[in-house]
Amino acid sequence: MKQLPTDPSRRNFLGKTAAAGLLIAPGVLLHQVAQARPADEAASSKVRWGMLVDTNTCSKGCDACVTACQTENGWGGEHSNEVKSSPEQQSQWIRKVTLRDKQNGHEQSLPLMCQHCETPPCVDVCPTGASMKRADGIVLVDKHICIGCRYCMMACPYKARSFVHEELHDQKPYAPRGKGTVESCTMCVHRVDKDGTPACVEACNKAGHQAMWFGDLNNPNSDISKRLKEYGGNQIRADLGLNTGVRYQGL
């Protein structure tokens, strides 16, 4: 029987992989992640962006996060055509929710927005592929292919999505939005791509509440991961098994 020549590339491959495994020590990997992604590089699944809300420090009367989101992404506002829609139809990317324990009257306040699920129901039901999840875990609507059917709005257990009913003008260049499409929290993806922080988190810190954190859930050394490790964090409707990117403490 003729002996087949051994393909050295396979052995080389194994050798290289082993070496690479050694190289990817936690420190090295973290160093890579900590740097801003260049503009021409695609978002990577090595990162999973997430948010953490501490309901104990979230102030009841404060809506700094909501206002910041409106200013940043240009939704709502008195001068927009959106006022023509009925209040329950107007866009709401992020809302403040108050939870009251009926037995003892204890009240909790928290911001609720798109939870950026790992297995998003909105993406499951979208007939066109407009509802999508980026490699780094951010759930978005590609309004170019959204047909405005609103299945995703029905599928979302968090009521996080809105539909634009009116013609809009003077949108923000980095947050295009228009009539006939569904929209929701983008985790300020335009800021995140520039190594920034979402507007709500920034506003919360500015207001001195420090109730919101943003960071990479895959990186054990990020502030958000450390905090989650120490204090834990709940998902809203954890029973649905969606593995949300937004976690809550003190809930």
């Binding site: 992604r37 503009a39 021409d40 590089e41 695609a42 978002a43 999508m132 980026r134 490699a135 780094d136 978005l140 590609d142 309004k143 170019h144 013609e167 809009l168 003077d170 949108q171 923000k172 260049p173 980095y174 295009p176 939005r177 228009g178 009539k179 499409t181 993806v189 335009h190 791509d193 520039k194």
Partner: protein, 159 residues
């Protein structure tokens, strides 16, 4: 019959000096101050610009690639910059860079039902300053020109 034709010929001759020059009818595409060409040659842009921005749109939307060369936002930043009086053309106006051509060619576009038709940062004229990111002033490394930095460097003040 002959008389009618003569009258028509005379009429045409009279009308000739009143006709507009062809170049007046063609849309005028403004170039940003300090720049003499677009990111691609004019003939390529004329034929292919829709493909460039369509490709870039998917790259940005789905992969988060935010290079500026073929981005619609950058088209607007450069070509629909505020005029000398500080005003910016809106998409409905024929002064708007996109509309000037599209109304001429009778091609309707719906980009601006969602996208902004003007640059957000009106200080974009700072793009003439070297070594800065004109459209992201908050990210720019230095607001000083190369010459100023050189002067400072020789004095030993700059890092």
């Amino acid at each position: 019959m002959m008389r009618t034709l003569t009258l028509m010929a005379v009429g045409l001759l009279l009308a000739l000096p009143l006709t507009i020059q062809a170049s007046d009818l063609l849309p005028k595409v403004p170039l940003p101050a300090g720049k003499d060409k677009c990111v691609e040659p004019t003939d390529v842009m004329r034929r292919e610009h829709m493909h460039f921005i369509l490709h870039q749109r998917d790259e940005t939307m789905h992969k988060g690639i935010r290079t500026t060369k073929h981005s619609l936002k950058e088209c607007i930043n450069c070509h629909n910059a505020p005029r000398e009086d500080g005003k910016v053309a809106h998409i409905e106006s024929k002064d708007h860079f996109c509309n000037s051509c599209h109304s001429y060619a009778a091609v309707t576009i719906d980009c601006f039902q969602c996208h902004a038709d003007k640059p957000e940062n009106t200080n974009y004229r700072h793009s003439l300053v070297e070594n800065t990111l004109p459209h992201h002033p908050e990210m720019s490394g230095s607001a000083l020109t190369k010459d100023t930095l050189n002067v400072l460097a020789t004095k030993g003040d700059a890092k």
